[in-house]
């Protein structure tokens, strides 16, 4: 608000108190991972080297190694983001710049799907992946994840293309360039902010994805970090120290991204990205 109230410090302190659980949660996982024993957020024993044994001990009771899961997670997120950005940019470009029958209907449909809760389709998707022979493969889950976020991507990218001025593209078309060349060489580089925003969103969302791999992947060789971490909760005795270390390892890219790119993050999530 344009006028700062005289007692704004009270509001600042109130905000600090409300946000306390988030801060405490972060501190808890950090301390539990780093120290051998923590009591009420105060370390009671030395550094907990044992918590990090998953890094050097190889396979822990039948699980794939952390490196397999890490590689799968990296592959999963990167491919999902790539497919999502490219495919939605192409479709959005057609909707923003070309005339074709049912254009209105197509955008309307994408908009409707954006609000539609795709997770209710998981039972059917399970069957379709089995039918396609893509059940229990990383590529199957990648396609599902990227597809379910397409409506959002199309919608977001269309907004960016709409805001471009048409002159440059028209000049190129008049000079005889193909639609693809114009898209690839001129329009796409100009919507870099949109690509970055959608790409970041897709990366973060795929990195954290749990339900899809949990349902559609069985074999350890295709496990992502989410499944790796989750597998420790089914043990009779939950090793909180080990789980905190694995969780911290898994969430580290997200935490780093948060620390370095707060303002950018706010822009992405304020810009109409689904919540």
């Amino acid at each position: 608000m344009p006028i700062l109230p005289p007692r704004w410090r009270i509001f600042l302190i109130t905000l600090g108190i409300i946000a306390l659980p988030i801060v405490i949660g972060l501190v808890w996982i950090l301390l539990t991972a780093l120290f051998d024993r923590v009591h009420g957020l105060i370390p009671q024993a030395g550094l907990g080297r044992e918590n990090w044994r998953f890094l050097w001990q190889g396979s822990l009771s039948g699980r794939p190694t952390i490196w397999v899961a890490l590689l799968n997670s990296l592959l999963f997120s990167a491919t999902v983001a790539l497919i999502e950005v490219l495919v939605s940019a192409m479709a959005a470009y057609a909707i923003a710049r070309m005339r074709f029958p049912l254009r209105r209907a197509y955008l309307g449909f994408a908009l409707m799907l954006h609000a539609f809760p795709a997770i209710s389709l998981i039972i059917a998707i399970f069957f379709i992946l089995r039918l396609l022979g893509l059940f229990d493969t990383l590529i199957g889950v990648i396609l599902v994840k990227a597809s379910l976020e397409l409506p959002l991507g199309i919608w977001l990218m269309k907004g960016f293309f709409d805001n471009l001025s048409w002159e440059m593209e028209m000049a190129a078309l008049v000079d005889g360039a193909s639609r693809w060349t114009v898209f690839w060489r001129i329009a796409l580089p100009l919507v870099r902010p949109g690509i970055l925003a959608l790409g970041t969103f897709a990366l973060l969302s795929a990195w954290g994805e749990f339900i899809l791999p949990f349902t559609l992947i069985v074999s350890g060789r295709s496990w992502t970090l989410a499944l790796y971490l989750q597998s420790f909760t089914s043990e009779a005795f939950v090793d909180f120290g080990l789980m905190a270390a694995v969780g911290l390892f898994y969430a580290l890219p997200v935490i780093l991204f948060f620390l370095l790119g707060q303002r950018y993050l706010l822009n992405i999530y304020s810009g109409g990205v689904k919540g």
Binding site: M1, V23, W28, P101, I123, A226
Partner: protein, 317 residues
């Protein structure tokens, strides 16, 4: 579709029609990948869900399922646990929505009343639960609420018990709420920013206190965003079960915290009950799909759709 179009022009089209048809080649090509994926993972699944719900497919009959008509729906209506699950779903929806919208409002207003830089920091902090991988996020809750020595609440309160089991609903609503509040927060913040400055100056000149300004100027102008957030989150909460699955898995005990979507998921896809009943789960999911389609159609009316689809400016084929 493109082949058909080509064939039609080859046969009897005039030069004009031929030119026009070839013009659609480019949009078709650009839309092809998206269309295939949407067909495979949206349209076919909707049909599959409905069709599966009309069969008797389960692990026992997986090889040769037979047509069952409305049998699954009849079973659902006669299931003694369904009323309990419906009650749980209503409870989950109402309480989580209440938390999300109230907290979103409080956060948006408070962060707007402090210097911009601080406001941004706090808003960013509230995004942490949203961008955290859900498995890690839930693990932190589990850790904080666990028995001593790890559980912080047990440590501090001196009452050593598993707090999730003791208060499963509170945990679920808080865990969901800390993720969901940021959605309203961001939307309400941009709505507050869009309020003309003159209104604030006018209320200051009139000698209004901060509370009066918030109550008489800001809140009335947020009516529309509040409605939007409420309807939008109703739809996504209705079908989301990820955090409940991870936190309590629908327990403790028999269906204590099982909501509709989680029940559908567990009947159809988890091996918990031995015989996995895809058809019955699909029947439950069919309800969600229909509610989803209906509500998202309403959205299209609520959003000003016509403005979004202004004609392309110039067309060169």
């Amino acid at each position: 579709m493109s082949l058909k179009a080509e064939a039609a022009t080859e046969k009897g089209g005039t030069a004009e029609r031929h030119r026009k048809m070839r013009g659609y080649g480019a949009p078709l090509l650009f839309l092809l990948p998206a269309s295939i994926l949407i067909l495979l993972f949206f349209i076919i699944p909707v049909i599959t869900t409905v069709v599966l719900s009309l069969t008797d497919i389960s692990t026992l009959t997986f090889r040769n399922p037979s047509w069952a008509g409305l049998e699954n729906y009849r079973r659902l209506f006669n299931d003694p646990f369904i009323p309990k699950i419906l009650g749980n779903t209503a409870r989950y929806l109402v309480l989580t929505l209440l938390f999300n919208v109230t907290m979103g409002l409080v956060l948006a207003i408070l962060t707007s009343l402090i210097p911009e830089r601080w406001g941004d920091n706090f808003r960013a902090l509230w995004l942490v639960p949203r961008i955290m991988p859900p498995v890690v996020y839930v693990f932190v809750w589990q850790g904080l609420l666990a028995r001593a020595p790890f559980g912080l609440i047990s440590d501090l309160s001196g009452i050593n018990k598993g707090w999730i089991t003791a208060a499963p609903w509170t945990t679920i609503i808080l865990a969901n709420g800390f993720v969901g509040a940021s959605f309203g927060m961001l939307l309400f913040t941009s709505a507050i920013r869009a309020i003309p400055r003159d209104l604030f100056y006018a209320s200051a000149v009139d000698g209004a206190s901060t509370w009066q300004t918030v109550r008489r100027v800001v809140l009335p102008l947020l009516r529309w965003p509040i409605l939007f957030v409420t309807v939008y989150q109703t739809l996504s909460l209705l079908t989301s079960f990820e955090y409940i699955l991870l936190l309590t898995n629908g327990g403790p005990g028999l269906f204590k915290t099982t909501v509709w979507s989680l029940h559908a998921y567990k009947i159809a896809l988890s091996n918990y009950f031995g015989n996995v009943e895809f058809a019955l789960g699909a029947a439950m999911a069919t309800f969600l799909v229909f509610i989803g389609v209906a509500l998202s159609l309403i959205y299209m009316r609520v959003f000003n759709f016509n403005e979004l689809v202004s004609e392309p400016k110039i067309e060169v084929n």
